[in-house]
């Protein structure tokens, strides 16, 4: 549906917002552009909408080159971050705004507006003015206004960022439901990784104007391509180290936290600088782990963050003089009776399973 080829966007002569980005999005996909502010995700979305043109490269939409086609001639519609509802028009006229040019008979417009508002459950607010609505309602009007024209692609610019936590979760479900029902392509921009993980078919993780990794939420979470991805998606404990031994059967790395045995990798040589990542939820108490003879770290508990279903402990491990910080999640489901819940200040032995550790070669992907 969308083909972005070698797109570069340079602002005011020197600021490189997008650096040779290529990306293909299939029809009906829910793709999220994820990244910290300034990573280029919004610039890319604006290029798709047609508000801006790339410095280099091309954008194809449904097979047609739209690189320099103005927004009013593109078959895409956008939900703006702060909704951008027309303040001088009622809800109904906001939704009907984009239908005027289609020159439909009045009755048909009325039906389309009614249907669009039904879809977001706001038909009773058709005569209200935007300022009379709550944030969540405005959001849904913006959604109805963008969808009423039946676009091939719906663009969403941080659509949930202005909503409070409870409403945001409800809208996540709502957006997914709409996506499934309509079957059109959704491209969403967000800086919120939980939102991206929960909603997307595929995530495009961006950084400094480049695509860092593209993949399913599962891929990005469980097989991050770089230490950056591992730390941006979820939480990952990272330790710098040097490969002490690399063979077809073993990979041993010396880190500040101690010697760690990882799954064998043929592409890494002895002496290479690597970064080891291990997620807090993959660490378990050594006494419960099967083979705990290796990769057992002695950790002193410094702080506990209670999250309900889990408790995240901030621990110090490694040499006493220069301890490394480490997060460990104590899952309630793994300890239904509440036993083994360590107290602050105590020391626990944590086992890091080799299969669950990420190994990133330093320098190749920082």
């Amino acid at each position: 549906m969308i083909e972005i080829s070698n797109v570069t966007r340079v602002f005011s002569g020197s600021v490189l917002a997008l650096d040779n980005v290529s990306l293909t999005i299939a029809a009906g996909e829910f793709v999220t552009l994820l990244g910290p502010s300034g990573c280029g995700k919004t610039t890319l979305l604006r290029l798709l909408a047609g508000f801006d043109a790339p410095t280099k490269g091309s954008i194809l939409l449904a097979g047609a080159d739209v690189t320099n086609v103005p927004p009013y001639d593109r078959d895409v519609n956008m939900v703006f971050q702060d909704y951008a509802l027309f303040p001088h028009l009622s809800v109904g006229r906001n939704v009907a705004f984009g239908l005027e040019r289609l020159k439909w008979p009045k009755a048909r417009v009325a039906v389309a507006v009614r249907e669009a508002l039904d879809m977001v459950e706001l038909s009773d607010k058709i005569d209200r003015m935007p300022h009379e609505l709550s944030g969540g309602q405005r959001q849904r009007v913006a959604l109805a206004r963008a969808l009423v024209r039946g676009p091939k692609v719906l663009l969403l610019d941080e659509p949930l960022s202005a909503l409070d936590a409870g409403l945001r979760e409800a809208m996540q479900v709502e957006l997914k439901r709409l996506h499934q029902k309509l079957g059109i392509t959704f491209v969403m921009v967000t800086h919120d990784q939980t939102e991206a993980l929960a909603m997307s078919d595929r995530i495009v993780l961006m950084r400094n104007g480049r695509v860092e990794q593209v993949g399913s939420p599962d891929d990005l979470y469980n097989a991050p391509a770089s230490a950056y991805v591992a730390s941006f998606i979820g939480t990952t404990n990272l330790f710098d180290g040097t490969v002490a031994e690399s063979s077809p059967t073993a990979l041993v790395v010396d880190t500040a936290a101690g010697r760690l045995h990882c799954s064998a990798r043929v592409d890494i040589e002895r002496g290479a600088a690597v970064r080891i990542g291990v997620r807090p939820e993959h660490l378990r108490l050594a006494e419960q782990a099967g083979d705990a003879s290796r990769n057992t770290l002695s950790c002193r508990i410094e702080d506990a963050l209670f999250h309900g279903s889990l408790t995240r402990y901030r621990c110090a491990t490694g040499p006493e003089a220069r301890p490394e910080q480490l997060y460990w999640d104590w899952q309630k489901s793994a300890h239904p009776d509440g036993t083994n819940r360590p107290a602050k200040g105590s020391t626990v032995q944590l086992h890091a399973p080799p299969a669950d550790m990420f190994v990133f070669v330093q320098g190749a992907a920082a």
Partner: protein, 289 residues
Amino acid sequence: MKTDTLQRRLVALTFLLPLLWILGFMLLPYSIILVFSFWQQEYPSFVPDFQIGNYVKLFVEPQFVTVILSSAFTATMVSVAALILAFPFAYYLVFKVKSARVRMAIYIAVIAPLWVSYLLRAYTWKTILGSEGILNSALVWSGLLDGPTDVFLYNRFAMVLTMTYIFIPFMVMPIYTALEKIPRNLIEASADLGVRPLATFARVIWPLAIPGVLAGATFTFCLSLGDFIAPILVGGANGMMIANLITSQFGTALNWPLGSALSMFLLFIVLIIIELSNRAAPADRIALG
């Protein structure tokens, strides 16, 4: 306790001064003029009375009716001319000038003449339009005219031109503010919904600029309706406006009651216009967000 009373007295004093100012220099003079307007003229003086003869005179004596209508017409022309010039200008500043610094510089350049003496600015046009003026010299020099002409000065055209020049900042300022307040993403949203730039102007920008246009039109209309320097300097024999009529009633004609009635009438018209313009643009309807 003590500091508390002191503070309260200080606060009271702070508000007392502006209150006294308004009472002494605005409400009191207005009241005196209002009282005068019901008095009776008995040449060469006037006597206290309560009758509306002065007001009736404004509407029955052709001399006054003509001046009132002519003033209203001039003020309308000034407002229209100022709008035609100011709107594209403000639009260009807000939407086309990319650099914020350049935009500010041009904006200030438009506002700056307000700090120059009004009389001086009005007089400038006399030297431009006069028979010895720059315009005539240029036309003669270029060969378009054989000799200097006096058609530019002492007529309504000269008055409208001068007043438009003088009052245009009051049209630019509110329109600029209104346009600047329009979120850019509304214009993008309109384009995104398939609406072309010209239609976006008609359906988004213009409706949202109306409060500014109304405010600007109110300013320029009321200011030019009450102007009396431009008519004296460039208006010529038939350029008399309401304010000149008022001046003459308090001066040579020595008819203070009639002058007062004219003043009250002018004040009334201005208040009506302000009220109408407030009603035409209810603030909550345009509230953004």
